[in-house]
């Protein structure tokens, strides 16, 4: 038989594998059955993939697209894997693992080249080396400036300020100011400083980025008369209206849940709970500080307005924050 085989170009003695070879699995001894099975699988794959083409053509639902292409690819993969597993030589074949390490003299040669050559030309030119190192080091440092500093402005006091000023009216998400009767006792709404809710740009009011992310304030009506949450805040809650920054002091999520019975503001992110009666002191969860309270008043036209800005930075803690 061997003389019928094409001559190989180089004569390398190689071992012989025959059908009696125990390396051959059962399936390899009865390949025709496996071949038929794989052929059926491939035919099904072709049908599925062609079906994907047709489904795509017809703009079918995503699940039809995914189902056909997924089934087609799975069948192709299954067939190919079975082909590899049952009809191809499995081994165990062996590859020798040659040590990665070089011979000792080669190592020495490399080390010698590194050390010996540098002795004269590099090591004895200490000043040049030092100057070069300084230059490269300075480049490394100044290169950070454009890479980092150009990205954005210095923080300065940006984390401390909001758009709330003395006399800034509270408006709801549709831009309406709040009057004494807007909320019933126990009611709650999210308010923004007037000017951050812009009307007329579209069918719905446009709330500025700052208004959403920084100034957002939760307004709650606790009772029908002036209310004091903490000593020194006697005038802050006229007609029972109290307002707290809606930014959780833990990680800045909006404190968006209100447990009306217990009068707790709850942050859905990590379940910090703030008691609205005593100045939003955290009663549970990882938040470290009370929500800052916005001092309120009724202005000349009878609308709720801020007595002034928040008395501290809103939101989570940071290094420069002073308390």
């Amino acid at each position: 038989m061997s003389d019928e085989q094409p001559p190989s170009r180089t004569k390398v003695p190689m071992p012989v594998a025959t059908l009696s070879d125990p390396h051959m699995g059962d399936a390899a001894r009865h390949p025709a059955r496996v071949e038929k099975l794989i052929a059926v699988v491939f035919v099904l794959a072709i049908v599925c993939l062609a079906g994907f083409g047709a489904a795509y053509w017809q703009n079918a639902d995503p699940w039809v697209l995914g189902g056909t292409v997924g089934a087609g690819l799975a069948l192709l993969g299954f067939g190919l894997t079975a082909w590899g597993k049952y009809l191809m030589p499995q081994g165990p074949f062996v590859e020798e693992r040659h040590p990665l390490a070089s011979a000792p003299d080669e190592r020495d040669a490399m080390a010698a080249a590194l050390v010996e050559r540098s002795t004269v030309v590099v090591k004895r030119r200490k000043m040049l080396g030092g100057l070069f190192a300084v230059g490269a080091g300075i480049f490394g440092i100044v290169a950070i400036f454009p890479l980092l500093r150009s990205l954005g402005p210095l923080p300065e006091n940006s984390l401390e300020v909001t758009d709330w000023r003395r006399g800034t009216r509270l408006v709801d998400s549709s831009g309406r100011p709040i009057s004494r009767g807007t909320l019933v006792t126990g009611g709650l709404m999210t308010v923004y400083p007037e000017g951050t809710v812009i009307l007329g740009l579209g069918p719905q009011p446009y709330i500025t980025e700052n208004g959403q992310a920084i100034d957002q304030t939760v307004l709650i009506r606790l009772q029908d008369q002036n209310f004091t949450t903490q000593p020194g805040r006697e005038t802050w809650a006229p007609a029972g209206y109290v307002a707290y920054s809606k930014l959780c002091t833990h990680l800045g999520c909006p404190v968006g849940l209100y447990e009306q019975q217990l009068e707790l503001l709850v942050c859905p992110c990590h379940q910090s709970m703030f008691n609205v009666r005593n100045g939003a002191v955290p009663e549970f969860g990882p938040a470290p500080r009370p929500l800052p309270q916005l001092p309120l008043m009724f202005d000349d036209e009878g609308f709720l307005a801020a007595q002034g800005p928040y008395d501290q930075a809103v939101g989570p803690g940071f290094w420069e924050r002073t308390t």
Binding site: A17, L19, G70, F93
Partner: protein, 520 residues
């Protein structure tokens, strides 16, 4: 026949040499690039057969799926937070202010043909990518495959895991929907919590205060170019080192520190692994088709003053969220400064510590064992009880934290108070790793002593004699269990398959005709 002037099929074939067109191609390539010798070695490269070696392949193939689906998505996604009014196919959103990033993602889902499928495949593939990396890492760790000479590849792998987690987080932040925006807000606050540099870092990265309009475009270029490029480089290095250092293998017959036993690259492994690539792709396609993921049109465009209940990140961020939840509210305030330890410790220091331990583990173990030998044979986890226990402890720590990221859902579902669930996890996060580690250590020790462990049990027939005596006879082992006395041998060059057309006919096994003859 070769005398005839007209070239026949046969004469053309003969002129091409014994190996036909392929032979010619090899000749031409070899003349220019010298590929024959190295190429032959590559074709003969041996891959050990063990199921656990597929885990890394899943990572590689899901990365390929991510690249392919990601390229598709990048053609339609608009990385901009400019607010526009939505007037599209999805009617419930009609007339609402949405960002362009969000609108384009909704458009991909509803208006781009096949878009929803590709989007969901991309998201699923990302989850599979991170998951398979973690499992692959577990395999490497528990079998000691990270030992000398493979410490560098272990390091590269950890770096890729970190990058994959960042890439995933940044990726699911891009659609600018309500949930991902909340995640981004949390990420901002975590960066802000770093002492000294936090506010500078966030101000630079966000181009000012949160949210700003620059973070989505920046994250986009990081997501589609920078991290994928670094990952591609690291994957190349990872695979290059694998080829250079060759695979590890479990101990077994014919397997030594100085060889690799398994099936050859060509054609066996190539067929199997390509088939596996198709299967991984198929899996993500089927998940994308039938398992909805991240339906952002339900969440709405990001509005920093809105939030939804039961907010959880993708699974690979869950352990950090859990750590944030169970951390007590220890903020330091004094000297005119604030250090938010309640954020900084669980979300910055803790993951930093975990990944540092991972990166240093080969060095830690070498210091501990004093073992500086080259290892190509893998450990069975039971024979390294301390390492196995450490791995299980680490895994259970992360798993417990992961579970802690749904304290609120558990409290609601099981009707427990949130407080008791919280305290349960605060205690569990310390107790579970210790207990799991101790149990693992003891189990490993026990397993070492069990005779014939890892082998299938053989049935025993019990006889009752007429005198009432019992006797037992073991049944013969099943064919798979008979140790085969194969001497592993080098890959044959040629395996003839002509007689296979004879169908299912039993071929003469000892025939001298050499029906399946391999020679060179």
């Amino acid at each position: 026949m070769s005398d005839t002037a007209t070239p026949t099929k046969r004469s053309t074939k003969a002129a091409m040499g014994p190996f036909g067109r392929v032979g010619q191609l090899v000749d031409e390539l070899d003349d220019r690039l010298g590929v024959a010798k190295g190429g032959r070695v590559f074709l003969d490269k041996i891959f050990p057969d063990h199921w656990s070696f597929m885990l890394g392949e899943i990572s590689l193939y899901s990365f390929i799926v991510l690249l392919a689906t990601g390229i598709f998505l990048s053609l339609y996604f608009v990385p901009s937070t400019t607010q526009v009014i939505y007037h599209g196919t999805y009617k419930p959103l009609d007339g609402q202010w949405v960002s362009q990033a969000y609108k384009s993602t909704v458009d991909i889902s509803f208006d781009v043909r096949g878009g929803l499928l590709v989007r969901q495949m991309h998201h699923w593939a990302a989850d599979v990518f991170c998951g398979s990396i973690v499992l692959h890492m577990g395999r490497i760790f528990l079998t000691g495959a990270f030992r000398k000479p493979r410490e560098l590849n272990w390091t590269i792998g950890i770096l890729m895991l970190i990058l994959a987690i960042f890439e995933g987080f940044i990726g699911y932040s891009l659609p600018d929907d309500l949930i991902s925006g909340t995640g981004l807000r949390i990420g901002y606050s975590i960066a802000e919590s770093i002492p000294l540099v936090g506010s500078y870092l966030t101000s630079f990265l966000w181009g000012g205060r949160f949210p700003g309009d620059i973070i989505i475009p920046r994250f986009y270029i990081i997501h589609v170019l920078i991290i994928p490029l670094v990952l591609l480089g690291l994957i190349s290095a990872h695979l290059g080192l694998l080829v250079r250092q060759k695979h590890t293998q479990f101990p077994g017959e014919g397997r030594t520190e100085h060889n690799v036993v398994g099936s050859p690259m060509f054609p066996t492994f190539m067929a199997k692994t390509t088939g596996f690539l198709f299967m991984v792709t198929a899996m993500t396609a089927l998940l994308g088709a039938f398992a909805q993921i991240n339906p952002i049109w339900h969440f709405g465009s990001y509005d920093a003053s809105k939030i939804s209940y039961a907010v959880q990140p993708d699974w690979y961020m869950g352990w950090l969220d859990g750590a944030l939840r169970i951390m007590p509210s220890w903020e330091f305030a004094g000297f005119g400064h604030t250090i938010p330890f309640e954020v900084f410790l669980p979300a910055v220091v803790f993951p930093g510590l975990i990944f540092t331990i991972c990166l240093l583990w080969p060095a830690i173990e070498r210091r501990y064992t004093g073992d500086n030998e080259i290892h190509n044979l893998l450990d069975r986890p039971r024979y390294r009880p301390k390492r196995t226990a450490a791995g299980v402890a680490m895994f259970s720590l992360l798993f417990t934290l992961h579970a802690a990221s749904s304290t609120d859902v558990m409290a609601n579902f099981f009707h427990f108070s949130l407080n008791s669930v919280l305290w349960f996890f605060r205690i569990a996060v310390i107790v579970v790793p210790i207990v799991a580690g101790l149990i693992t250590y003891q189990l490993c020790k026990e397993m070492q002593g069990v005779h014939g462990i890892g082998k299938r049990k053989r049935a025993v027939v019990v006889h009752l004699s007429a005198h009432g005596e019992y006797s037992t006879t073991p049944t013969p082992p099943r064919p798979d269990d008979v140790p085969t006395e194969l001497e592993p041998e080098p890959v044959p060059v040629r395996i003839d398959v002509e007689p296979l057309s004879s169908g299912g006919v039993e071929l003469p096994e000892q025939s001298g005709t050499g029906v399946r003859q391999v020679s060179r």
